[in-house]
Symmetry: C2
Subunit: 980 residues, 2 copies
C-alpha cells in the first residue's frame, strides 16, 4: 500500500528532522565519513559491511541487530536523563563507617586529577620514560603507606580491603611453604565484608579460615598449622586492639600477623610495624576519595622486607636511566601473573592507580601536621560524642576508640528510635542490632553536624562547648587510646609531604607531574588488548555529581534507588551485549571477573554433584590473568596449544578435553583471540568442551571487536567478563579503576557472587556464593561512565563502533604490511581490532629488539603498543575506533620511518647497539648536550618526521635500567638530597 | 571579673576547637608561617605588623578591622552556602533572545577550557613565545569572525555588543576626521541595551545619536553631518533587513555602515561585508558560551582593510620568530591606549579572551558543516513554530526571519495569557507589549521543547511532524529569508575548522595549545599591576553550576533571586572593602569602571549645575586607560608631574588644580602608585583637589596592597573601581573576562549606571544615567568567584592577604637590591606590593635592554614581569601573596643569575648583541640544532640553574619579530600550506 509507505516515509523524515543533530557517535569515532570511504578503498572493500563479512566468520554473526532499550541520546539529553536517575539517590550524612567515611576532597585534587583527562586517561606506566609523573605520585602513595604503617615495603594499590585481605592470606600461605600450614585466623571484629571476601578467597587455596575472638582464642592449639592471623586496627566497632602479645604468640608459631589498618587512625596510633605486624592492609578511601557507593578506592598493602618479593600487584621502584639520572619504574615485574601465569598466586592486574594518586596527593596537600590535626580533631569530636551520649544515659561499649563508637542505647529506648531520629535529620548510623548503634566520625564533620548527632542521641547540645574544651585535645593525650598505643614516631617525614601546601604549589606539582605523562590527551595509545578509546567528557561528568559520589555503600536501600535503577539498566544492557541472561557488576577488574566467573562455574558444578571437576583448559596464548584466576578458583590448569597461525589447536583441545572429560571444569577462551583474529574454530572449540562436560568461560578483553557483531552468549559461552575500562569507556586512570562485570547464562545465574549486604526481604542472602569484592556493586562510582556510553550509542552506535575499530586496525595493518610482517590474520588476510607486528627478525639483522622500536616510537610522539605479549619480542597494535585517520597515518608513517632506520643499521650505516633505535628515547637534555658523538644527527633523533614540529611529546628521562632497579630495590621516595 | 574572663576564654577555646581546620587562608597564601618568620627576619622586622607600619603611612591606616558579614567559611561549607543561594535562581527554558540564547556547551570545551586552570589562569599574551597556544586560538576567533561577517579584519574580542557599538561609533568618528561630521544614525530595531550603551558612549564624544526607522529615515537630510549608521541583522524582532541600498546611500554621503550581526545567522545569511557594511559587531555568546545572567561573553568587531588600524582592542597577528618560523603575537599595539593615552579613542584593555577562545573552539569543533546544520535546524524549527502559531490564529508579524519571531496574539487573547502558559512550563518568552510576544529559538531546542512552545501558543502539537517535513529544510530554500540574502559564500573555509571534529582530536588540539602557554599552573607570573594571584578551584567551581550559568540576563526578577542576593552581598562587601557607600558591578573591566566612575562624577556635577567642569588631572604615571577613559567621558586631560622619587608632584598638582579650579572635574589617582609606593602625600593630594572643587577618582588596580589596611573611601576618594580580576580572584583568562565594579560615596550613588532592564516598581528607570555594559550586572556569571573569595577569607583573611602581598614584594626587592637598583621605595626603603627594577643602565654597559632580560627569564621558566611600564625599559615585579617563598627565591635566583650573565657581556666574555640574553628565549629546536656557534654552551642556555632540571617551561618559538608582523599585517589564520 503506497499510502502507508508514504506515511511511514514521512514519519521517518520527521523523526530525522527532530533527531538530535550532534550525535555522539560522530564524536566518539575517529574517522570522518570520507575517511571511512578512503580506508575501505585502500583495503579493497566497497562497504563496511563487506569488510566485516571478510573479517568475522558468518557462522558466529548475530542475525538480528542488538537492541538497547532507550539508547542514542544527545549528550545534553543524556546528562539530563541520568541526572533524573541520580536524583533518586538520597544524600544522607553518613556515620555508618565500616570501612567507608565521608570525606573532603580537596578541590584542587578533584578538578586537576579526578576531573582531568591528563590524569585519568593514561595507561599503566609500563613505559616509564613517558610516565614519570604518575610513577612519582604512586611512589608517594607507597611512601604514605609505608610511613603510616611502619612497614618498609608497600605496593601501588590493590582493588579493595577485602581482596587485600585475600592477598595477605596468600602471602602467608606462600611464606609458609608447607601445605599443611593452611589455617588462617581472622578476628571476628574485622569488617563483615572483609571477612566475607577473605572466606571466598580462602576456598580456592584450600585454606581454612577460623574466625574468633583474638583475645580468647587458643592459638597454641593450632600449632604449626597456623599460617597467619588477621586483626582489625581499630576493629569494626572502634576498639583499638593491643596486638603486641598476639604478634609474639603467632610469630612463635611461625605464622604472620596481618593488620587491617585505618590509615587516618595511624596518624595517631602506634603503627602496625611497631607492634609486630608483618603485613598491613586497608582502604585509603578516607584520604580524599569520594564514597561512590563503595568504590573505586585504592586499597593498600604494606609488609616487611622479608615479604617484599611476595607482594601482590604493582610496585613502583626507583632506578636510573641511561644517563645515570634517577628514574621511576614498575619494579619486580617477574612476580606478576603475566610472567608467572599458573604459578602466580595473585591475578591482580588492573588496580586503583587513579584513586591511589588521589590519596597520595591528599597526603601531599595536608602534610604531616595537617593529617595529624585532622586525626586529632576527629578523635576529639569522638570523645565529645562519647561523653554526650553517656550523659544522655546510653552506654559506650568501647574499651578504647579512635573515631568509632558502639553505643548501647539507654534502657527503655531502642536502636530503632535512634535511627528514626537520625533519619529525620537525613543522617545514617550503623545498624548493629536492636539495642546497639554504631557511629564513625570523619574529617568532614562540623559543629552543626556534631550537634545534630547529639540530638539524635537525645544528648544535651548546650553542653557541647564545655565538653569540647574538657576532653583531651589530641589523641596522644586521650584516655580512649590505650597507653602505649599512641603513636610516638613522626608521620609523613619525607620532605615531599611538606612542600606543597598552598593551592598554588599543589596545582603546580600536579601539573608538573601530569606534563611528564603521555595520556590520550596527547596522542594515540595503541596498546593491543587494552582498548585505549575515548573516555568522553559527558560520560565522566556524572561521576563527580554528589548524587553518585556521596553515597555510602551500605546506605539503606530506600536511599539508593538511583544507583539501583542505573545498575539494573546496566545489567540488562550488558546481558544484551554479551548475549547472556544475567549480570553482576561486582568484580572490580577483568581479573576479578575471571575469578568470579570460574567460581560461578564451580558452584554450579557443585550443585550438580560435580565438585570434583577441577581441570581448566587454558590456551597458551591466554593472558596471564587467566591461569592465575583459575588457580585461585582452585582449578588445575592444563595448557592447550595454538597452531602456527595463532589459532587454538583444536586437535590438542579435543585430546585434552577428552583426556580430562571426567574432571573437566572449564575452558577459558579469549575472542577474538589474543593474537587478534576472529578464529573460525571457536564454535567447534565450544562444542568440544561442552560435549566433554565442561563450561566455557570467555575472556571479554577483546569485546570491542564483538559488540553488535557477535557475542559470547551467541557463540555458546556460558559466562564471560567485560572490561568496562576497555570496551565500555571507563578510563584506565594510569592503571585503574576497572570494572569487570560478568554475564552468565541462566544456569549460572544463581551462582553469581553475593555480599553480606545483599539480602532478600526475609534477611537471607541473595546468593549462597561469597562476594569477590568488598562492596556489593564493586566500583559502583564509575558505573555511570559505562551507563552513559551504552545509552549514548545504543545498539546501533555500538555496532558501528565495533566495525570502525576493526576498520582502523585493518587499515593500519594494511599500510604496514609492506614494511613489517603482520603475524596473524584470517584467511582473507584480515585481523580483528588489533594486530601483531613481527619485530623478531630485526634482532638478527640489526641487533634491534621490540623494545628498541617501542622506545624509538616515543621519539615519534607515540605511546608504544603492547610489547612482547602475547608473542615475545613483537608488538601488538590496537588503535580503537576513536582514532582519526590522520592519527593512524601518523603512526604508520612513524613505524615506516623506523623500519628505514632499522635498515640503516642493517646496512651498516649506523652501528649495531649504538644507533638511533637503541639509544632511544632521546630527551631534551641529551639532545642539548654539548657533546654529540652519535652516528646520526641531533635533529633526526628529535624530529624525524615533519608532524613532530607541530606536536611532539618529550620523554622526561632516557631509557631506564630495569635490572639495576630490581637489584637495588627502593620502593618509597628516596631522600631529598638525592633529588638535585 | 575573673569568672567572665574565664568563661569567655573557654568559649573562645570551644569556638576554636569547632572552627574549620583547613582554613582557606593558608591555602591561598604562599608562604608558610615559618617562611613568614624567615622573610621578616631578612627584612629586619619582628612582626608583620611592624613591617606594615614601616610601609603604609599611619595617617591612612584603618583604625578598625574591616568586617565582612558572614565570612571565613571552610571551602566545603562555602560551596554549600553558595549552592543554597544559587538554588534561589530558577532555571527556565529561555526564548527571550534579545542577544542572548541558550546554548549547548560542548563538554570537551567546558571541561578542558572553562574548567581548566591551564586555560583560565594565563595573562594577556604579551609574551608571545610562551603564549602561542592561546594566540593561535584567538587567531582562530578572528578567522571565524572575519569569515562569517565577510570582512577581512577582526579583533580578538570586545567586552559586549553594546560597547562594541560604542567602539564602532568612535571608529566612524575617527574615520570622518571632520568634527562636524558627528551624527550617527541607529535603527530603532537594534536591541534596546545596544542602543542604550551606544547613547551613553556617544555623550563623551559629543556625537549625536539619531534613532529611527532605516527604511523611512531621510538620510540625505543629514548630508555630510552623517558619520555612520547602525543597523541590526537580523533586527531585535527577527526581521532580516535588506541593507544594500542603505549602504550605498550612506557611503555616498561619506559615512560608514555598521551592522550588528548574529554570528549563527551569518552561517546562512549573506555576510555584512557582501552587502556593503564597513563594520560588523555582535555577541558570540551563542557559540557555546553559557548565558551567565548576561556575561562574560566575547563580542566581536570586524571591519574593512581601510579601517584596520582603527580597530579597537587587541588584534592577534602573524609574524615570524628569530629563526624565520611562523609565530603569533599581539599586533599593532601602538594603536592601543597604553601607548596613545589621551589620544586613544578607546580605553579597552582587559577583553574577553577566555570566552573568545570558547567560541573559537566551538567553531573548530562543529566546523562548516556542523555550524550550517545547526543554523538550518534552528531556522527549520522557527518555520515550524511560525506555521503552528499562525494556524492557531496568531499573527507572525515578521516580514522575514532567521530564528526570531514577533507574534501578535490572536484577537480575544493577550500576551499575558501566553506568558502565563509559558510560565506554567517554566518557559520564558520575550515580553514586548500587551499584544505582542517575542520568541527566539536556538541550537539547544528539542522536539519536546518545540512541542511545549506550540502548546504555549495553543497550537496543534499533532501537526508537528507534518509541519517539519513541509517547511523548507534549509534556510537557503526558505521563503522567510529574503531572496538574495541567503548566503552564497562558503563558511569557515580555513582547514583548521575541518580538522578536529572527533572528541579525541578536539581534546588533543586543546591540550596541544594549552601546553604552549605558561599559566599559573606552571609558574609564578609576577606581572606588576596585574596581580596574578591564585584563582582557587573552590571559587571557580560555582561558575559552571547551571543555577548560575543558565540564567538569561532579562529573566523575570522572581527567577533571579539567587543572583540578586549574591550581587547584593557583593555590593555591600565591596563597599566595605573600599570604604564607600554604594557599588555597581556593571562595568566588565577596570577601564569600564574608570569610565563609569568619571561619568558618575560628571552626572553629579551636572546635577549641581556644574556641567562645565571638564578638566581631569591625570598623573603622568597613570595607566593608559586613565587618560583614555577621561577622554571618553568628555573630559580634557591635564597631566600632573611626578617627582624623581615617583611621587605625585604635589606642587604641580596644586598649581594645576588651582589653575583649572573653575573647570576642575576630577583627578585620577592610583594608590599605591603605579610605581609601587604608598605615597605619603595622597591625603594632601586629595585635599587639594577637593578644595578646588574637584572629585577624586581612585584607580583600584593596586587594591591588593590596600584591602584591610586602608581604603580609597577612608583616604577621602569619592569613587574608585576594583579589578575583581586582580584583587578579587577572578582569573585573567588570557586577557579577560574582567569585572570592574565601582564603589562611590553617597553623593555619587544616584549616578551609577542604569540599564533598560533596571526599573523601579513603577516602571521608571532606576538610574537616569545610561548603562556602560550591555547586561544590567555586566559579567554576572563570574561574580561567584569574587563572592567566594570574599566570603572564604572574610575581612581578617583579606587583611592578612594584603600584608602577605606586601611582605612577598619586599622580600624579593630586598634580595634583589644588591644586584639591581630598585627604583621607587618609601623613606623606609619599603615598596608596596610590587616594585620596579631599573634595567636601563645595562643598555649602556652591555647593550642589554629590559626585553632581553624578560626573554631570558623565559629560559629560567618564568613569565617575565611587566615590561617598560610605568617606566620605559624597566621591569615591574608583583609576586602576589599566593606565591611561596620557594617560588620567590627561585625567581630571585634567576634574576641574580641573569645579572651575572649581563656582567659577562659587560666584561666582554660574551659579545654585545649576540649573547645568552639577546638570543633568548632558547627553544628546544635551537638547542638541538646540529650547529652551535654561540659564545655560551647549550646547557647553560637551557638549564642555567639546577631547579630547571626539575621544572622547566619551554618557549615554543624563538624571539618574535614585532616589526615584521606590523609591517605585514595578517590577522586571520594563514593558509594551511604555510603550516609545515
Ligand atoms: C586478554 C585479557 N584478559 C584479562 C585481562 C585482565 O583485565 P584487568 O586488567 O581488568 O584485570 C587483560 C588485561 O589487559 C587482558 O588483556
Ligand atoms: C593601574 C591600572 N589601571 C587600570 C587598568 C585597566 O584595567 P582593565 O584591564 O580591567 O580594563 C589596569 C590594567 O592592568 C591597570 O594596571
Ligand atoms: O594590561 C595592562 O596594560 O597592564
Amino acid at each position: 500500500d503506497a499510502g502507508v509507505a508514504a506515511d511511514s516515509a514521512s514519519a521517518s523524515a520527521a523523526a530525522q528532522a527532530f533527531a538530535p543533530l550532534d550525535t555522539f557517535l560522530r564524536r566518539h569515532n575517529g574517522p570522518r565519513d570520507s575517511d571511512v570511504d578512503a580506508m575501505l578503498q585502500a583495503l579493497g572493500f566497497k562497504s563496511l559491511d563487506e569488510m566485516i563479512s571478510a573479517t568475522v566468520p558468518d557462522a558466529i554473526r548475530l542475525k538480528e541487530p542488538m537492541t538497547i532499550a532507550d539508547g542514542e541520546y544527545a549528550e545534553k539529553e543524556l546528562l539530563a536523563k541520568l541526572k533524573d536517575i541520580a536524583s533518586q539517590n538520597q544524600i544522607y550524612r553518613s556515620y555508618i563507617g565500616t570501612g567507608y567515611t565521608d570525606v573532603v576532597v580537596p578541590p584542587v585534587i578533584l578538578r586537576n586529577i579526578l576531573e582531568n583527562p591528563g590524569w585519568y586517561t593514561q595507561y599503566t606506566p609500563y613505559q616509564p620514560e613517558i610516565s614519570q609523573g604518575r610513577l612519582e605520585s604512586l611512589l608517594n602513595f607507597q611512601t604514605v603507606v609505608a610511613d603510616l604503617t611502619g612497614l618498609p615495603a608497600a605496593n601501588a594499590s590493590l582493588l579493595d580491603e577485602g581482596t587485600a585481605a585475600g592477598e595477605a592470606l596468600v602471602v602467608c600461605l606462600n611464606a609458609s611453604r608447607k601445605k599443611t600450614r593452611n589455617v588462617f585466623f581472622a578476628d571476628e571484629n574485622c569488617h563483615p565484608q572483609t571477612l566475607a571476601v577473605l572466606r571466598t578467597r580462602a576456598e580456592g587455596f584450600g585454606a581454612e579460615i577460623v574466625v574468633g575472638d583474638y583475645k580468647t582464642f587458643d592459638f597454641a592449639s593450632l600449632g604449626d598449622r597456623l599460617t597467619g592471623a588477621l586483626v582489625s586496627y581499630p576493629d569494626t566497632y572502634g576498639n583499638i586492639g593491643e596486638y603486641k602479645a598476639l604478634a609474639d604468640q603467632i610469630h612463635s608459631q611461625g605464622a604472620q600477623l596481618v593488620a587491617v589498618a585505618d590509615l587516618m587512625s595511624l596518624a595517631v596510633l602506634q603503627p602496625p610495624g611497631e607492634f609486630g605486624a608483618d603485613i598491613a592492609i586497608g582502604n585509603t578511601q578516607r584520604f580524599g576519595v569520594p564514597l561512590g557507593f563503595g568504590g573505586p578506592h585504592a586499597a593498600f598493602f604494606a609488609t616487611t622486607e622479608a615479604n617484599q618479593r611476595r607482594i601482590p600487584g604493582r610496585i613502583i621502584g626507583v632506578s636510573r636511566d641511561a644517563e645515570g639520572n634517577r628514574a621511576y619504574r614498575l619494579a619486580l615485574q617477574t612476580r606478576e601473573q603475566h610472567i608467572r601465569r599458573e604459578k602466580a598466586s595473585s591475578n591482580i592486574c588492573t588496580a586503583q592507580a587513579l584513586l591511589a594518586n588521589m590519596a597520595a596527593m591528599y597526603a601531599v596537600y595536608h602534610g604531616p601536621e595537617g593529617i595529624r590535626n585532622i586525626a586529632d580533631r576527629i578523635h576529639r569530636f569522638t570523645q565529645v560524642l562519647a561523653a554526650s551520649v553517656t550523659a544522655a544515659g546510653h552506654t559506650v561499649e568501647n574499651t578504647s576508640y579512635f573515631d568509632t563508637l558502639k553505643i548501647r542505647v539507654a534502657d527503655g529506648s531502642s536502636a530503632a528510635e535512634v535511627h528514626a531520629r537520625a533519619d529525620a535529620r537525613r543522617i545514617n548510623l550503623r545498624k548493629i542490632d536492636d539495642q546497639h548503634v554504631g557511629v564513625q566520625l570523619d574529617e568532614a564533620i562540623t559543629r552543626e553536624e556534631l550537634a545534630q548527632l547529639v540530638e539524635v542521641f537525645n544528648g544535651d547540645v548546650s553542653a557541647l562547648d564545655s565538653l569540647v574544651t574538657s576532653v583531651a585535645q589530641t589523641a596522644a593525650a586521650s584516655a580512649a587510646i590505650p597507653a602505649g598505643l599512641a603513636r610516638q614516631s613522626a608521620i609523613l617525614t619525607h620532605p615531599i609531604f611538606s612542600r606543597y601546601h598552598s593551592e598554588t604549589e599543589m596545582l603546580r606539582y600536579i601539573t608538573q607531574l601530569q606534563n611528564k605523562d603521555l595520556s590520550l590527551a596527547n596522542a594515540m595509545i595503541p596498546l593491543g588488548s587494552c582498548t585505549m578509546k575515548l573516555n568522553a567528557t559527558t560520560e565522566l561528568i556524572p561521576i563527580t555529581w554528589p548524587e553518585f559520589g556521596q553515597i555510602h555503600p551500605f546506605a539503606p536501600r530506600e536511599q539508593t534507588k538511583g544507583y539501583a535503577k542505573m545498575i539494573q539498566d546496566l545489567e540488562e544492557d550488558l546481558a544484551t551485549i554479551t548475549g547472556m541472561d544475567a549480570t553482576t557488576v561486582q568484580p572490580n577488574s577483568g581479573a576479578q571477573g575471571e575469578y568470579a566467573g570460574l567460581r560461578a562455574i564451580r558452584a554450579y558444578q557443585a550443585s550438580q554433584g560435580e565438585s570434583h571437576r577441577n581441570i581448566c583448559l587454558v590456551p597458551e596464548s591466554a593472558h596471564g590473568t587467566n591461569p592465575a584466576s583459575a588457580v585461585m578458583a582452585g582449578l588445575k590448569v592444563v595448557i592447550v596449544k595454538c597452531d602456527s597461525k595463532g589459532n587454538l589447536d583444536l586437535a590438542d583441545l579435543e585430546a585434552k578435553a577428552a583426556k580430562h572429560a571426567k574432571n573437566l571444569s572449564a575452558v577459558m577462551i579469549t575472542y577474538p583471540s589474543t593474537f587478534g583474529v576472529f578464529e573460525e574454530g571457536v564454535l567447534k572449540a565450544i562444542n568440544i568442551v561442552h560435549s566433554n562436560g565442561g563450561q566455557v568461560y570467555m575472556d571479554g578483553a577483546n569485546m570491542n571487536a564483538q559488540v553488535g557483531l557477535t557475542s559470547p552468549g551467541h557463540m555458546g559461552a556460558d559466562v564471560c567478563h567485560l572490561n568496562n575500562h576497555k570496551t565500555l569507556a571507563i578510563p584506565h586512570g594510569g592503571g585503574g579503576p576497572g570494572v569487570g562485570p560478568i554475564c552468565v547464562k541462566k544456569h549460572l545465574a544463581p551462582y553469581l557472587p553475593g555480599h553480606p549486604e545483599l539480602v532478600k526481604a526475609d534477611g537471607t542472602p541473595q546468593s549462597a556464593v561469597g562476594p569477590v569484592s568488598a562492596a556489593p556493586y564493586g566500583s559502583a562510582g564509575v558505573l555511570p561512565v559505562t551507563w552513559s556510553y551504552v545509552k549514548l550509542l545504543g545498539g546501533r552506535g555500538m555496532t558501528e563502533v565495533s566495525k570502525t575499530a576493526i576498520l582502523n586496525a585493518n587499515y593500519m595493518a594494511n599500510r604496514l604490511r609492506d614494511h613489517y610482517s603482520v603475524l596473524f590474520t584470517n584467511e582473507n588476510g584480515m585481523c580483528a581490532h588489533e594486530f601483531i607486528l613481527d619485530t623478531r627478525p630485526f634482532g638478527k639483522t640489526a641487533g634491534v629488539q621490540a623494545i628498541d622500536i617501542a622506545k624509538r616510537l616515543q621519539d615519534y610522539g607515540f605511546h608504544p603498543p603492547t610489547m612482547s605479549w602475547p608473542v615475545p619480542n613483537t608488538i601488538m597494535v590496537e588503535p580503537t575506533e576513536s582514532e582519526s585517520k590522520e592519527e593512524l597515518d601518523k603512526f604508520c608513517d612513524a613505524m615506516i620511518a623506523i623500519r628505514e632506520e632499522i635498515r640503516e643499521v642493517e646496512e651498516g650505516k649506523q652501528p649495531k647497539g649504538d644507533n638511533i633505535l637503541t639509544n632511544a628515547p632521546h630527551t631534551i637534555s641529551t639532545l642539548s648536550a654539548e657533546e654529540w658523538n652519535r652516528s646520526y644527527p641531533r635533529q633526526r633523533a628529535a624530529y624525524p618526521l615533519p608532524y613532530l614540529k607541530e606536536r611532539k611529546f618529550w620523554p622526561s628521562v632516557s631509557r631506564i635500567d630495569d635490572t639495576y632497579g630490581d637489584l637495588n630495590l627502593v620502593c618509597s621516595c628516596p631522600p631529598m638530597d638525592t633529588y638535585q
